[in-house]
Symmetry: C2
Subunit: 82 residues, 2 copies
């Protein structure tokens, strides 16, 4: 089995109102040292097989087709055998 | 500055209907090798300071107070100086 972790987050030039709201909430709760908050999604997949390169290729396609909106989001893939 | 990445995901014994929906969608799109999908949130924070241990302590408190619902979610913190 192959374990995949995908982080999907907004591109840095895209506004993140949800992140800003979390940032303000953290300030209100007493964490003024927090300067910036960005919120994203993550996916943990388990896949059959053992070929990590082939799996990465498949996951890139999944991200482009379904997991991320590549107009405004970027993704980062971590893959390891299990 | 300190860069923090927090992954918040459902505990393994909690049902994840969103993850199941993504899993079914991936199967429909032609990825039958995907066995399990779990969906979570991630937060990228930038904090003032340079003391990584103190920052980690603060981030644990933020997670317990705001970022995660510790009844059903677990979190994982990665911290690095920037």
């Amino acid at each position: 089995m192959i374990k995949v972790h995908v982080n999907v987050s907004l591109k840095s030039d895209v506004m993140d109102p949800q992140g800003n709201a979390v940032g303000r909430a953290l300030e209100t709760l007493g964490y003024p040292q927090v300067r910036q908050v960005r919120v994203g999604r993550c996916f943990d997949l388990r896949m059959e097989g053992s070929d990590l390169d082939a799996a990465r290729e498949q996951v890139v396609k999944m991200c482009d087709q379904l997991l991320a909106n590549t107009v405004i989001e970027k993704y980062d893939i971590q893959i390891e055998a299990e």
